[in-house]
Subunit: 389 residues, 2 copies
């Protein structure tokens, strides 16, 4: 079985970093979630790279996607096999240059990479929340990040950047806290999930909930619903690729075989790859977090939440300069959705640049090394940085 | 919960029909499968509509797709709520006119709608085969149909028609038994599955095999792997639709609710629809058959089997006249794959008509009422029928 290393290290890393934690919303000062539920305390795990300048005007907030974490760049230990998930973009001299910018990446509310989520201990019961964890939204995730920035005394972000549901958080920042965002870079994202995107998320959730080990979300002291979570991940993984990228990467090539097995083993490399992705994922992710975060993505609807149903009205609240990016082969968040978003921004007279990048790697393209994206991000940040100085 | 009736009855049906059975390959005369395994006896369930003419030259063979059966048209009982699965196309005066043609539809080998498959009783053990059923191929399915036609004394088909993996059987007929096929109509199909199509099938299989009730295929005397099969069906169902059709059919409309539930119920209509499709499917299909038939689809590679890797070489064996049809929004078997197939046919000087039909309903379009398709099929069959008389 071959190993699949997806993202190569590229250039100089930020070096050794440390995960930090900020806890807020202690009782009785709970946070009011969009569902109407009061919830707290909340802990947010985060990392920072580079130095905050004296005026606190060089902060760049990175938003991660479904399975990401606060570890965007650098290494925890000298012998880590891989750096943070966006080390190709974040570091000295890179697209987001840590010699110049103070970069923050926090793990989203509802995840399990250090921030409060369904696997966290419920202080009222002393046991993991499971399904007692409240359903959270993209807006709630952004509110938690706002509390983190408040604790750092950062009143304005130079930029907020992220892809996929990270891109939704970018948009939400611009409309929820317009005075706190100088510039925004939503990548491979949408103002609301299509029926197709909801459908894939729902089937993935059903795969988890069909696993008897899921046990209605109460599995932390027993066997985990690894088979269901693996299937969920495989479904997701297909949607991150594209017909073209899968043809180039796998085609119909067989796995360690000269001919078909005539049984239900993995005959094709693409089958073996998906099984591997599923197995790998269960070691690093929590099934309930997968349910909560995909639900937050499905619920997200910028126009519904902030514009009484109109995306144009919602963007009337925004003030940021935008650089929006889509990818030709992304069929989960296709370019037409980015174009609709950009049109809504332009109708409000916002300063928007839009670029559709030619890339065969589907939705995942925003995580892969791409000189075009790096140049776009570097140039855009440079322009904004010069304007605010 | 609303009911989803997908296919309306359209025009005059063939009326009451009866499922018939043909059993062949009795021991020691077993059939040699493509895997090298000898297997038998094999029973094929089939139905016929219309009358075979004296010269036995008006037979049209219909090939069904993954979850289809021999019941292509008409009703078994006067109070059946729905007719056969292609009643919109097959009947008096319809696209495949049963006043003129003798129409045969047989359930494929490996299915469980009457033909021998993994749920059939293994005569050697007295118990259902389960995974002792051999892995069968599209070629094996066609060989079984050949035996059925032999039993009827039909030496040449006027036409063979089918979509999806039914279309693969159409292609296989033309290359495996070129002298038996006058004309062929492959719809929404491909000469070989792409990595993307294999990936979706594999994840669906994994969903079934992850269900503990699957029990390595041995569940016929116990609880069936309904949860796994339902997830598998949901995955498949998404791939049969399209981004556009799902937007038109569901968009982000909520199900019986004025706002989000903030739990893991089905909030969106598309979620409710998929859950319904999953539940409905487990009542009418066998999980092991799903595994076997999807595997046969993934294995299918016309060029590998018949042309030493070359589709062009494989089609050098064919003699039929072809009408190939693809659909604009079919992303499971996209038009480019049909075009590649048509090119390979043309390089052999074959008589080929190709039409890409504008349709928003994705891969499923071939099963839906479409006046354009009906006219194409009627005209093509009429031409061939006149030529052979």
């Amino acid at each position: 079985m071959s190993e699949y290393i997806e993202h190569d290290v590229n250039g100089v890393s930020v070096g050794l970093v440390k995960k930090k934690y900020h806890t807020f919303a202690h009782p009785p000062n709970e946070i009011l979630l969009e569902s109407g539920v009061k919830f707290g305390p909340i802990t947010i795990a985060y990392e920072t790279y580079g130095a905050l300048d004296l005026k606190k005007r060089n902060a760049v907030l990175i938003e991660h996607a479904l399975s990401g974490d606060s570890h965007a760049a650098g290494y925890y230990h000298p012998d880590d096999p891989k750096p943070g998930w966006w080390d190709i973009m974040v570091g000295p001299g890179k697209g987001i240059d840590t010699n110049r910018y103070f970069v923050i990446c926090s793990n989203i509310l509802g995840s399990w990479m250090g921030s409060t989520g369904p696997a966290s201990i419920n202080p009222k019961t002393g046991r993991p929340f499971g399904l007692e964890f409240p359903v959270v939204t993209i807006g709630d995730m952004v509110n938690a990040q706002k509390a983190l920035l408040d604790s750092m005394g950062i009143e304005k972000l130079l930029a907020v950047i992220g892809g996929s549901i990270g891109g939704m958080q970018v948009l939400e920042w611009c409309v929820r806290y317009p005075d706190m965002v100088e510039a925004a870079i939503p990548l491979a994202t949408t103002t609301k999930h299509s029926a197709l995107a909801i459908a894939f998320n729902e089937v993935a959730r059903q795969a988890i909930m069909a696993d008897p080990n899921w046990n209605n979300g109460d599995y932390y002291n027993g066997t985990k619903p690894n088979l269901g979570l693996a299937v969920a991940r495989m479904i997701g993984h297909i949607t991150y690729l594209s017909d073209e990228s899968m043809r180039l990467k796998f085609g119909r090539r067989l796995q360690d075989k000269s001919d078909f097995s005539f049984n239900f083993d993995a005959d094709f490399q693409v089958e073996s790859y998906l099984r591997y992705q599923g197995r790998k994922f269960v070691d690093r992710f929590d099934a309930n977090s997968f349910l909560y975060i995909t639900k937050a993505g499905d619920y997200y609807d910028l126009g519904k939440q902030h514009g009484a149903g109109s995306t144009v009205k919602a963007f009337s609240k925004a003030k940021a300069k935008f650089l929006a990016v889509s990818y030709t082969s992304d069929w989960l968040y296709p370019t037409y959705q980015s174009k609709d978003m950009v049109k809504a921004m332009k109708k409000n007279g916002l300063d928007v640049s839009f670029c559709e990048i030619e890339a065969e790697w589907g939705h995942d393209a925003f995580l892969l090394p791409n000189a075009h994206l790096t140049a776009l991000v570097r140039g855009f940040l440079d322009r904004v940085y010069r304007e605010v100085r």
